[in-house]
Symmetry: D2
Subunit: 390 residues, 4 copies
C-alpha cells in the first residue's frame, strides 16, 4: 500500500532510489502566487548536502529541476514536481552488500518484505537517506509559505555522542547553527563535536545525537483533536525520518519523574495575551499549539554504515561472516539530519496552518506575496557567516 | 478539519465528550466473520475503567452498546458502531473551571482555537481522557483480529515517578501486569508504586510514568516506506493519547550516547530464520517490523488535575488567581494509560497487518475464525488472577 | 477496506443496518459555532421519510438523537454523532429473502463478497435505502452551513417513468417541489406522476425516474484540478446512492450529438462579472464551478422490490424459483431519492467550499452565525404549503 | 487543497502542464515483482498519442522516462515515477488566448480561482488534455497487473456526433477498435465516423461522442459499501477526465422509463455459478461487481477549441470580441478519449482488486509473475492489425 505521501492540504509525495536515475518530490496543495525558484530550494538543500565537511564524502551537486507548477516564477496552484538527478554514484561499492545484509540497516527487512529478487541493494535503494532530498525540497516551500505567519523554524544538535549542551540558548543561536559544520549552537560545543567526529572517522565508527527544533511564532491552535493532534503529526513526521529512534517535546521523558505540581505550568498574562510562564509544555497543550515556542527533540542513532567489521550472515550460504562497510558515510547522521527534521516540522506546520485557515489554500494576495518575499529575504540572509567560514 | 479518525484499512472514528450523552466509536474495515460480543469489549474496557483502586473515583459502568455491523454475533463487514452512555456525571464540579483554565490542561488552547462561546468546559469536553473509551473498544476488536497471526500485545509501567524497573522482565510478567492495580510487572515494584500513589493522593498531587509495550509474534515486514514506516505510525498513534509527551522504541534516546559499533545489532541465524542477536532495534528496522519482539515506550506526564492550588488567570477579569481542581482524578494517568497505549498499538498493527495481506480485509474463513476464537479464549484467560485479587 | 466515509474537510461516516438497532452518522469537520438542533435535522429528514403518501409503508418516526459535538445548542468543533433508532421493523417479512436473492438487489453480490454466513438478509441490511438517513442528517448540517455563502440546493423529478417535464422551470418551482408528494415541480405534472404511481401500486410494479438538482449561488472556483474536479466529486457522491444508474450535468448526454460551435457557450458580461450566456455547462467548466447555477441530473432505476413475481434461484437447492417481494416498498424510489441527492450535493459542495476557504473550518464568527441563522429561517419557511396540504 | 491523486492502494499522482518542461505521474502501491518496461508504457500511450490520423496535429513523441521504482526490469515496491518531456510546443499560438478566454474552456474558471497573474495560459496549462498522459501511463501498469485476474478492459466509440452503433457487438470487436483511427468497432461505422471527422475538420468545427467500456472477467465483489461503491468510484474516475459530461452503466438513463418488472434481471444458474440472465445491471449490483461483464458509457462533449469564430470577452477592456482557436486540435476528443477512459477504469479496478485481496499489495510470486507476463503478451498481440493499416 502506498506510504510515500505526507500531509493533507500541503501534501508531498516523494520517490526515487539512491542509485536510480533521480530522486524527487511532488508537492500538491501549494496556493497560487508563491514566488519560487530553484535558488530557494538550493538554499535549503545546502544544509543537508553530502560532501560538506564531516559528512558523507559523496559529492552530489544536488541540482534541482522544477518540472511543473511554476509559471513566471510563481506557483500556479498546480502540483510542483521537482527532481534531482543522481550523480557521483558508484554502485560497485555495493556488490558486497548484495550478499551481506548490513547490521542496523534496512537491507534484511526489505528482503523479507519485498523478496530478494526485487531488492535494490545499491546504496540502500529507497531506504537510503538520499530519499530525504525530496523532504528538504518540500521543506523549502513550506518554510517560505510559513513566512506569511512569520513562523521561523530552526534546529541544532543538543547532543552528539557523550557531548551535550546543558545551557539555555537563544533562538538566534539555534538558527545560526546551520552554518556550523557540526550543527553546534555554541563555539565551545562546536569544538567538542568536531573532536568527536574526527575520532569516529579515524576509528571507522560513528556517533548518535539529539536534534532539537525550536519554532518561533507558530500560529495558535494548530492541531486537530483527537488523532491529528499537532504532537501526533509532528511525531509521525519526524519518526518517519531514517535513523530516528525517539521523539519528545516540552518536558518530554523528564516528566516521568515529576509531580503534577512541578510539571504544570502557570497560566499568566503576557502583554496582550494569556500565556504560560515557563513553557514547560513546549508550545503544545491539549494537542494544540498554545502560542509559546514549540520545542521538540528527536534522537538519531549512530550511522549504521561503519568501516569497523561487524557480524552478519552471508545470504549465499547462511554462514556467519563479517562486513566492513566501505563507501562514503557520515560519522554522525544527526548532523545532516537536523535539516531534514526542520523540513518535516515545516511541512507539518504549514499543513496545519492551512487546515486552520492561517494560510490560504487557493491563492495568495499580492500583499501576502510581498510580506512573504520580504521575510524570506531576511531569513535567507540571517546569520551571515563570515566569508570563507564554510 | 476532521481529526477524529485513525487508520487506513482498519479505520476508527471516535466521538463524544466527557459530559455529553455518550462516547463512542465507529470501526470501519473489519472483515466479515469475526465473532464479536459486548463481553469481548468489556473485557478490555475493564483495564482502563475508572473507579478501580488508585484511579479516578468516577464510577462509570462503561456499558458498551453495539449499534451496527454485527449479525448473529459475527461481524458482517459493515461498520461497527459502539457507544457507551455517560453516567455518574457531576457537571457542577466544573463550574469553577468555566472561568479558570486549568494549568497543564487543554482548557485555554480550546478556548483560543474554538472560541469561548463554543467551549464545552464540562470535564474537559472532547479533550477529556474519557475520549479514549472508543480507542479501547476498537483496541479489543484489533487485538482479537490479531489472534489470526498469534500477535499478542502487552504493556506495563516501566516507571512511576522516581521508581523504575531496572531488571529484565518476561513477556508473561508484562502480560500479567494488567491485573496489578498499578500496572506493575513485579511484586516488589507494585508495592513501591502503591506507596507512591497513596502519597500523591494524600498530597493532592500526581506522578508521571513510563509505559512500555511488548509485542510478541508481530508479522514481518509491517510498515510502508517512507512516511508510513511502522515506527512513524506507532508514534502518531501513541502521541495522539492525552498526556503523552514522548515516544521511543528499541534503544531509544539511549542511542544518542552510543557508537555505531555498539548500537548495531548482529544478524544471526535463529532456528529456521535470520534474526538479530540482542533486539537492540526493538523489532523495527528500516521502518519495518523485522520479526523480533516490538519493544516501545512512552512517557505520561503527571495528571494535570490536582487538588494542590495552582496559579492561573480568571477569565472574567484577567486577574491572577489559583485553582484547586476538585473532582475525581487519577493520581497517575499512566496507570490507566497503559490500556490505551496497548489499544493504539493493536489498532496500528492490525491496520498494517491488513495492508500487508496477513489478515484478510473482506472476510475470514471458517478455519481462521476457529483459530481466532481459540487463541482469544487463551488470551482472555491468561494470568488468571486469584479470586478477589482485584 | 473502509468505504463508509465521504468528504475531506466536511467528512461524514455512516453506519447501521435496516433492521439493526439504529442507523447513524458521525460528521467530522464542522466548524464551531453553528446553531444546530434536532429540529433542523428533522426538517430535512421529513422529505425522505417513509410513510408519506405514495412511498414505502414503513412508518419510521425517524427521531434523531444527537450524541456529541453540540453544547448550548451550538457545534463545538468536535464530531457530531447522530443516531436514529430503527422501529417498526418486521424482520419476519424477510424470511423468504433468506433463501431467495431478490432480482435487482444487492442480496446475491453481498453473499458473494462477504459469505452467506455473514449476510444480514433482513431488509437488505447495510444495502438498504435506510442507510441514507445518515446522509440526509449530514445534508441538513451541510445545507445550513452553506447559508453562509447563500447557496441554496433544490431538487425535483424531471421525469417519472414515461412522463417527463419538457418545459423550463424556475428555481422557485424546483425548491417548492419538496412539498409535492411526488416531487413534481408543476401542478399538471404532479397529476400525471400521481396517476403513474397509483398504477404501479395496483400492478405491484414500480417506475424509474430522473432527479434534477439546481444550485443557486454556488461559490466560484469550487473543485480541484485534476481528480477532485467538482463534477467528479459530485458524480461519486450521487452515484454512491442506491439505485442510481447514471449522472450528467449541463448538456450531459445530449452533447454527444452536438457540434462544438453549438455546445460552446458564449462568454458575456453580466452586471459586474463575466459569465456564460446560456449556462450550457451547467455551472461547471474545467471541473470548477463557474458562478452560474449548477444543474445536474441522475437516473434512479425502478424500485427493485416489487410484488410481481420474478425469477430467481433458491439457494438451498439451486433450483429456479420465483419471488414476490412482500413488504412495504416505494413504487418509485426516485421520489424519496430527491432528498438524498440534494443531501449528497450539499455535502459535496460544503466540503469544497471549506477546501476553498469560503466557509471557515475552525469556527464561525458571531456575524456569520447570525447571517446563517437568518437565511436558514427563510429557507425553512420557503414555499409555505397551505395547511393540510400534506 | 491537493486534487492530483487518485486511488487508495494503487495510488497515482499526476503533474505537469501542457507547455511546461514535462508531464508525469507517480504510481505508489504497486507490488514488487511486476515486470515493467518503457515498451509496456509506450504500447498504451500509442492509443492516446496526438499526431495520429484525425486527431490533434501536435506531434509529441511521448517518450516516457522511468525515474524510480524499477530495478532489473521489475518493480521493487517503491513508487514509480515516470515523466514525458514536452516537445513540439509552440506557445506563441496561445498569445491571443492570453486575453480572450476560450468558450467551453477552463480558461476563465482558472482565472477566477487562481488569479489572472498566476494563470498559465499556454495550451490550457494544467487543464490541458495533455495531463492525461500520466493517466495512460498508470493505466498501462494497472492493465498489466489486472492480467493476474485475467481482467481485460476495452473501449470503443458507441456514437460520434449523430452516428450511433445500434447493434450488439462482441468483446473482440470492442477490443480491436483500438486499431481503428476513429475508435469504431465495425467497418461500416468506421466509414461513417471518418466522414464526420473530415467534415468537422473542413468546417473548423468538432463533434461529441459516447465512449463505451467493456470489462471481461472482473473479479466478483469489487467495491465497498457505501460511498466507495464501484459504480461511484468508476464515476469519479471517469468524470474527472476533461470534456466528460456524463456517466452511466448497465441500463443507465434508459432505466428511467422502465418498470421494475422490466429492469430487474433474472437470477439464473450459469455453469458452476449463479449469474444474471441479460446483464441489465452492467456487471454492478448493490455497488459491487457481480461477475458479469462491466458495461459503462460516458459522453465527451465536442472539442471546445475550434477554428470557427466564437463570442467571448476581451479581458483587457471587457468588450465583446470573437476568438478563432488556431492550433492543432482534435475534431473529436472522444476518439483519443477512449484510451483515457480505459485507463481510468483499469486504475479504479486494480485499486479495488487490491483492496479486496485479489492482487497482492506487497509482492507477486514467481508464478503470478509468469501468468501476468504470458497474458500480457497475448493482450499486446491481440487484434494484430494488418501491416500498414495505421
Amino acid at each position: 500500500m502506498p506510504g510515500n505521501s505526507f500531509g493533507k492540504i500541503f501534501r508531498i509525495t516523494t520517490f526515487g532510489e539512491s542509485h536510480g536515475p533521480a530522486v524527487g518530490v511532488v508537492i500538491d496543495g501549494v496556493p497560487a502566487g508563491l514566488p519560487l525558484s530553484t535558488e530557494d530550494i538550493k538554499f535549503e538543500l545546502e544544509f543537508r548536502r553530502p560532501g560538506r565537511l564531516y559528512v558523507s564524502g559523496r559529492r552530489e551537486k544536488d541540482e534541482p529541476e522544477i518540472l511543473s507548477g511554476i509559471f513566471n516564477n510563481r506557483t500556479t496552484g498546480s502540483p510542483i514536481a521537482v527532481i534531482v538527478r543522481n550523480s557521483d554514484v558508484i554502485s560497485s561499492l555495493y556488490e558486497e552488500v548484495k550478499y551481506k545484509p548490513r547490521p542496523g540497516h534496512a537491507d534484511l527487512p526489505y528482503i523479507m518484505k519485498y523478496g530478494y529478487e526485487n531488492w535494490d541493494y545499491r546504496g540502500g535503494g529507497r531506504s537510503s537517506a538520499r530519499e530525504t532530498v525530496g523532504r528538504v525540497i518540500a521543506g523549502a516551500v513550506a518554510k517560505k509559505l510559513l513566512m506569511l505567519t512569520n513562523t521561523w523554524i530552526a534546529g541544532h544538535l543538543r547532543s552528539l555522542g557523550p557531548e551535550e549542551l546543558k545551557e539555555e540558548i537563544s533562538f538566534e543561536e539555534v538558527l545560526c547553527s546551520k552554518y556550523s559544520p557540526v550543527r553546534a549552537s555554541k563555539k565551545e560545543l562546536e569544538e567538542k563535536f568536531e573532536a568527536l567526529v574526527k575520532k569516529a572517522m579515524q576509528e571507522g565508527d560513528s556517533y548518535g545525537g539529539v536534534a532539537e527544533i525550536v519554532v518561533k511564532n507558530s500560529p495558535v491552535g494548530l492541531g486537530e483533536p483527537v488523532f491529528d493532534k499537532i504532537k501526533a503529526d509532528l511525531a509521525k513526521a519526524i519518526m518517519s525520518i531514517p535513523a530516528v529512534l525517539g521523539f519528545e517535546y516540552g518536558l518530554g521523558f523528564n516528566a516521568s519523574k515529576m509531580k503534577g505540581s512541578e510539571a504544570n505550568d502557570e497560566i499568566v498574562k503576557k502583554d496582550n495575551r494569556l500565556g504560560w510562564k515557563y513553557n514547560y509544555a513546549g508550545g503544545i497543550l491539549g494537542g494544540l499549539t498554545n502560542g509559546e515556542d514549540i520545542v521538540l527533540r528527536c534522537v538519531f542513532k549512530p550511522t549504521s554504515s561503519i568501516r569497523k567489521p561487524q557480524k552478519t550472515v552471508d545470504l549465499r550460504n547462511l554462514e556467519e561472516t563479517t562486513i566492513s562497510v566501505i563507501g562514503r558515510h557520515d560519522p554522525a547522521v544527526a548532523i545532516r539530519g537536523v535539516a531534514v527534521v526542520e523540513s518535516m516540522v515545516a511541512i507539518t506546520l504549514v499543513d496545519h496552518a492551512m487546515r486552520a485557515g492561517y494560510i490560504p489554500s487557493v491563492r495568495l494576495t499580492e500583499d501576502q506575496i510581498s510580506v512573504i518575499q520580504q521575510r524570506w529575504e531576511r531569513y535567507v540572509n540571517s546569520c551571515k557567516p563570515m566569508a570563507g567560514s564554510q
